[in-house]
Symmetry: C2
Subunit: 199 residues, 2 copies
């Protein structure tokens, strides 16, 4: 319907996650209407991020440096590592402001259906990080999904024999949620993990 | 929370219409995970569209050429012009496959509140297009909003004295809609514009 470059732009934008054809069209027209410098600044941000961002040599978080900001931060607790599937999970944990330790990004979960085994994750590198004996606790913060749980189980079998404290994030009702709308599995977990109060 | 280029990319993406901080983050991680050539192809599509797309010299539709594809198309009916506010409205009309005439993009609507008067729209150019007497009908397809209606009224006062057939898109109930959920104005228009059947 449109001439080449507009159609190309809409097609490229449609490939982004969560962007359907309508949103892609809306964004394309917005960009064509913007000041040129704003548009080039978006294009440059995309290219620049892709060119400079890579994985941290220690924890496999995304970073533009050799070692990421969290690993370099001397105020962080170096005795505890939170193991996550993806680097975006780090952002989710950081937003809580509850955690002051280090991270380790696995790069996914053990998922035979996707042909992804333990050797495809950064597990060997995690074990290397533990060799100096500084780390005393590992939090397994993989997703509460079948594959995330399987990955946590696999890791706990490797890590517990090393004499480390291995913990898993609590499962239960979301804060502000409603019992009536909780699925059976979540409610079952909440009952199983119930905590005594008033002691 | 993130190092420079990732945060820059998320910030740039958040400025797009309909993209909140969560979607921007999701798209940023998607791009960092993509093949580099796919990412550069997106950045190029953005830059290329911005560099090559401009307004058609005849109808002010977006095009990469001097004159847009619709204006050049010899199979289109040159006796009728559909006047729209924005070039994206052309796409909406084209999708119906009901219309085979030409277009004219005003570049907005008459809106005193936005400090936009008739002189800021491509009205003079529309009148110039009518001088050779080929055009016999003008469809005023501005939006059914206050400013769109005001613009249509303004144009009809200019065009009717020229002896042209001037029409306006029908207002009424959306197809597949429900009387119960129609607002009073739309239902009022539907009653006012009722059509006799069975004749």
């Amino acid at each position: 319907m449109y001439d080449g470059p507009i159609q190309d732009l809409i097609a490229e934008l449609s490939r982004l996650p969560g962007i359907g054809p309508k949103s892609a069209q809306r964004i394309a027209f917005y960009l064509l209407d913007c000041l040129p410098e704003d548009v080039y600044s978006l294009a440059n941000a995309i290219t620049h991020a892709k060119e400079t961002v890579h994985l941290c040599a220690v924890c496999f978080n995304l970073t533009e440096d050799e070692v990421c900001r969290i690993c370099r931060d001397s105020r962080r607790d170096r005795t505890i590592i939170c193991v996550v599937e993806e680097s975006k999970d780090i952002m989710a944990v950081e937003r809580t402001r509850e955690y002051k330790g280090l991270y380790h990004v696995l790069g996914g979960s053990i998922s035979p259906i996707d042909n992804r085994g333990p050797a495809d994750l950064h597990i060997r590198e995690l074990l290397t990080r533990l060799q100096d004996g500084v780390v005393t606790e590992i939090i397994l913060a993989t997703n509460p999904t079948t594959v995330g749980e399987a990955t946590a189980t696999y890791l706990s079998r490797l890590l517990v024999p090393l004499g480390l404290t291995v913990t898993r994030l609590a499962s239960g009702l979301p804060v502000g949620g409603d019992l009536e709308y909780a699925d059976e599995t979540t409610l079952g977990r909440a009952i199983e993990g119930r905590r005594r109060i008033g002691v």
